[in-house]
Symmetry: C2
Subunit: 194 residues, 2 copies
Amino acid sequence: MDDFSNFKKNIARFVTLTPVEEEYLISKVKVTHIRRRQFIVQPEFVCKYKSYIVTGCFRAYLVDSAGHEHTITLSVEDWWISDFNSYFLQEPSELFVEALEDSVLIQMDHVVEDDLLAKIPKLEIYFKVLAMRALAFLQKRILANLSKSAEERYHFFAKKYPHLLQRVPQHMIASYLGMTTQFLSKIRNQPSKT
Amino acid sequence: MDDFSNFKKNIARFVTLTPVEEEYLISKVKVTHIRRRQFIVQPEFVCKYKSYIVTGCFRAYLVDSAGHEHTITLSVEDWWISDFNSYFLQEPSELFVEALEDSVLIQMDHVVEDDLLAKIPKLEIYFKVLAMRALAFLQKRILANLSKSAEERYHFFAKKYPHLLQRVPQHMIASYLGMTTQFLSKIRNQPSKT
DNA sequence: CGCGACGTTGATTTGCCTCAACGATTGTGG
DNA sequence: CCACAATCGTTGAGGCAAATCAACGTCGCG
């Protein structure tokens, strides 16, 4: 089971490529190994790639003027990561995207992407589906932040992503959920109802 | 200046259609007039259309189990509105989308959209650009909610969308910004800096 | 071994909410 | 066309959820 196995499967969930197309795709993308604590995106720099996570774990976060970190994204295997804003518009990023574990990525840049979309138009559909899902996801997250208490948000998260609780340090989860480490700790260690 | 003038201009910002394509597009979409306080999306129902606002103003909101409204979207002329989640997946919506003024929409349903995308592939690009912009926008909003105080969020909003302050009732803006009407009122009437 | 990253716990503070009452404006039916 | 209701914004008192500040224990790693 090589690096591309799950990548192909993931695409096959939404569009069906011919063997020739698949081969062409694989020939164009680039496999990159990233060490823990390494950054693949940094503020001031333009985000060059969109990256599919083969193995590993990443988070994207912003550091505000008070020096507080705010986590936008926690991603594991079979997700795409990037600063889509910076990648799409080719503007300097404001975010850090950091590997939380040693990771393997499949990457493409704009040149490769445009070529692939031209040669394999079905990929437009694949990326469209991903974009729509991302939109739905972000909308739900905004709603959750507006309408739920810190405790509700945590329990919802814990139920939905139990594996992340084990892989990701708690202060990052806290910052993802919009609360302090201390408060999250208190939630976890209180009697509580489910 | 007919209903389609700005619609065409908006598309032309991102892709260039031939006169024939433009005509075909116009022949397929549907112009709808909506009265103030009318709903174009309601919970339990599948969202049938994506709609371009020719004139008017809409908001999308969710009512939580405690009966509180949470505004996801405030939209005016030249924006697309829909419950994209419900429209894209053809699942029942959870949202209300309500006209805040008498409005005129240009609408397309899935059948029309698929046909248009097949006949005018350039529209894929148009919608892709819109989707990416929406993604960037939602991401910024999540960051603002995570990192800014209610007062900062309000002043930021007021500076960025001064026209909305006049068109939209304040309790809706408050719910969009994630605070109560009363608190927003207090922010507005305090000395404050900036 | 010693330092830094991580989590926990308690005391205190505060940003924002809830509840409540009250003008002003809009709009609507008799 | 007026009266009354509904909608909208304002203001104040009191309360709570979550932040801040601070101190401490543990673990992993260089």
